[in-house]
Amino acid sequence: MSSRVGPVLGARRARTPRRSMFLRMLVRAAMLRRGRAAAALLAMVVAAAVTTAMLNLYVDAQAKLHNELRNYGANIVVAAKEGQSLSSETLQKVQSALGERGMAVPFAYVVARTADGQAVVVSGTDLNQVRKLNRWWSVTAWPSHEGDALIGARAAALVAPQGQAFDLSFQGRIVHLSSAGTVRTGSSEDSRIYLSLEEFVRWTGVKPSTVEIAASGSPEEVNATIRQLEEALPEAEIRPVRQIMEGEAWVLGKTQSTLLVCVLLIILTAALCVLSTLMGWVFDRRRDFAVMKALGASERLIGGFFMTEAAALGATGAIFGFAIGVAIAAWIGRATFHTPVVPRFAVLPEVLGGSMAVALMAAILPMWLLRRVQPATILRGE
């Protein structure tokens, strides 16, 4: 056949006989033993998929749990200095400092009197925002009309036991309110009456004195937000709600450590699975190894051959596995948190490197064991 090729091609062949032979051996080796090569590749793909899914999930679960724990409500409180109120400018400053990283709800309070002289705390706030901030509030119906009030369960028994309209007076000014619904929380809100902020200001002239903020993100991000607010608002007091922040940090810390241990265990198992399969594969081919050696191949060439084979297998497996793993992570995210896990391509190099390292280890170990064995012994089948 070589006699018929042109002089140019022949010269090229002469220069690169080794490389083309090398490639041919690699491809043929995989083609001829399709079953075993496929089994090794499958093990690689599954391991890479599980690893990718776990790494994705580990990173994402933290963010998801942070969101979940935001349901506990405000983690920062901005309060006016004693006896003062916050200007509307302050509220805007809070909003602009916060941006998209959370929500701020202003509250104003006075002690008013009912028609029969009972003292009751009345609060003015943005009820639509409160509804989002404090999801644990059990409310029969949220106020929707002018003059509607949301009444605490204990206050309701006093001011409007039958849900009828009632009067409240503050510093001689009387307001006529109807009861839209009751709120039950199990703490001080039960004894209060809530109004929309505009109506409250129109009636009492009292401006908000506190802003409750639910800032999202990790503890470091929340602390950064607190520092930012402190800089922007020297006239107010910024206070982290330690009950919420510390509880959150504690629970998340524990969950994360458990997740980390589990993820590491799973990755270790997957790596072991690949190692044992690939080692079997390479070991099984000790005959090829012996033939090559008998034909005069150097140890380096044989080593290079098996290692290239392993690396190629590792890389292919990692890329397919990554794609499958991202899909698994997305599915788990949807099943547990009802929002998909965003694929993180940052873990691709780690998965790729890890797969190739395991594959190379699986190739080197049997070769190291076979290195001293005479080719004749292997070829005789002993």
């Binding site: 776990m54 309070y109 199990g186 330690r242 504690w250």
Partner: protein
């Protein structure tokens, strides 16, 4: 002959058996540890969620409205009703007393400090020594509010010592070790309290000090209870008065926050117990999420372990085609050859599985102790299940390889042309 073949195979091929056995052991260890952690994680995280503070509050039935703005109590002490301090130890006699992590009474009183300034003094238990029957326990704010930090020392419950809230201390220019006059009596400040809540502007003292100021022995305004509860479901929200017989028993004997509230009302006369929704309502969701996540991860771990075991078994068998060929050439039937290999797989699975189960139990204990400071015990019921899974997986891993090995022509196998 069958037994001897199996026995000799184990005796002469130690390396191969060790490899397969190690794979099974590791796989079963990981599976056991993961199952144990996943079944226990709910309980563990539920306990950890108690760091968010009390989830139940008990108030007197005939109480007037609270007048509280930004932590300042405006209600005069003469107003409203009180609970009786002597009833508190009876919480220990409740049906679900083991689920009560702790409780703390609260008695806020307004006191005048020098300069006509009115501040709230909160009387409570720090870590009070109580007995109920033969049982001893120490309820108080130190166990139910883990985020309360004291710069200095916590006062004793039987002393007149007090804690000053952080902001109040800064305003008064006092620190730990100073003395402060309240209603003509000197109280030693043992520490400065920081809570990030209303208590930062208050004085916190033992319940007896506050009762002395109010002039009512045994008075308690509110009682905060921290209990480990089961996440609420539709059944939990049913009105206990509408439940009959066995249904009521089931409701009463489930640690729902509602049934614990119901039982608190039973043991403390003339009281009304209510869940603190901010804490109680969110527990369920957080718990469900973490449990769901662990379930998924456990499934992934089981899958990875099963694959590792199957792969190791298949590899071990593949290397022994020569042996199969020899047996077949000597006249062994396919069934008897397969039986030998299955017997080997069975032995490996049981041995490796047992060692793996013990290893997994130890692993679970280490995880429990290092992360949650408490034991994760592995139920013995798990043992047959785990061994069963190990058997299934190693059979599944071997089956394909055995089938191919016995169908292979012995001549080719012996010539090594696999």
């Amino acid at each position: 002959m069958f037994l001897r073949l199996v026995y000799e195979s184990f005796r002469r091929q130690k390396r191969r058996k060790l490899l397969a056995g190690t794979a099974i052991t590791l796989g079963v260890s990981v599976a056991t540890a993961m199952i144990a952690v996943a079944t226990d994680i709910g309980d563990k995280v539920n306990r950890e969620l108690r760091t968010f503070g009390a989830n139940l509050v008990v108030t007197p039935q005939e109480d007037t409205l609270d007048l509280q703005i930004a932590g300042v109590d405006l209600k005069p002490p003469s107003d409203g009703a009180y609970l009786n301090e002597s009833d508190l130890p009876r919480i220990r006699g409740m049906f679900w007393h083991n689920n009560i992590v702790g409780f703390a009474p609260a008695l806020p009183v307004a006191v005048e400090l020098g300069g006509g300034k009115s501040v709230t003094l909160l009387g409570t238990y720090f870590s009070k020594h109580l007995t109920f029957g033969k049982e001893e326990f120490q309820p108080g704010v130190r166990s139910i509010y883990p985020w309360w930090k004291v710069d200095g020392a916590w006062p004793q419950d039987d002393s007149q010592d007090i804690l000053l809230g952080e902001k109040l201390a800064a305003g008064l220019g006092r620190k730990a070790g100073d003395e402060i006059d309240i209603r003509g009596q000197a109280h030693r400040v043992t520490g400065v309290l920081s809570t990030g809540g209303a208590e930062d502007d208050q004085i916190v003292a033992s319940l007896a000090v506050a009762q002395g100021i109010v002039g009512r022995a045994g008075a308690v305004r509110r009682l905060y209870v921290s209990a480990v509860t089961k996440p609420e479901d539709a059944f939990a929200r049913r009105d206990p008065r509408s439940l009959r017989g066995p249904e009521f028993d089931r409701w009463y004997c489930s640690p729902y926050v509602q049934s614990i509230a119901y039982q608190l009302q039973e043991v403390i006369p003339h009281s009304h117990a209510e869940q603190i929704r901010q804490v109680a309502q969110n527990e369920g969701t957080v718990l469900a999420r973490i449990k769901g996540l662990m379930l998924m991860i456990t499934l992934a771990a089981l899958l990875a372990a099963a694959l590792a075991v199957s792969a190791a078994m298949a590899t071990a068998l593949f290397e022994r085609r020569g042996e199969v060929g020899l047996m077949r050439a000597l006249g062994a039937g396919r069934a008897s050859v397969a039986a030998i290999f299955f017997a080997e797989a069975l032995l490996l699975a049981v041995l490796g599985g047992s060692v793996g189960f013990a290893g997994g139990a130890m692993l679970a204990r280490v995880i429990g102790r290092s992360i949650f400071d408490s034991q994760i015990t592995v139920e013995v019921v798990l043992f047959p299940i785990v061994i069963g899974i190990a058997l299934l997986v190693s059979f599944a891993g071997s089956a394909l390889a055995i089938r191919r090995a016995v169908q292979f022509d012995p001549v080719y196998a012996l010539r090594g042309e696999a």
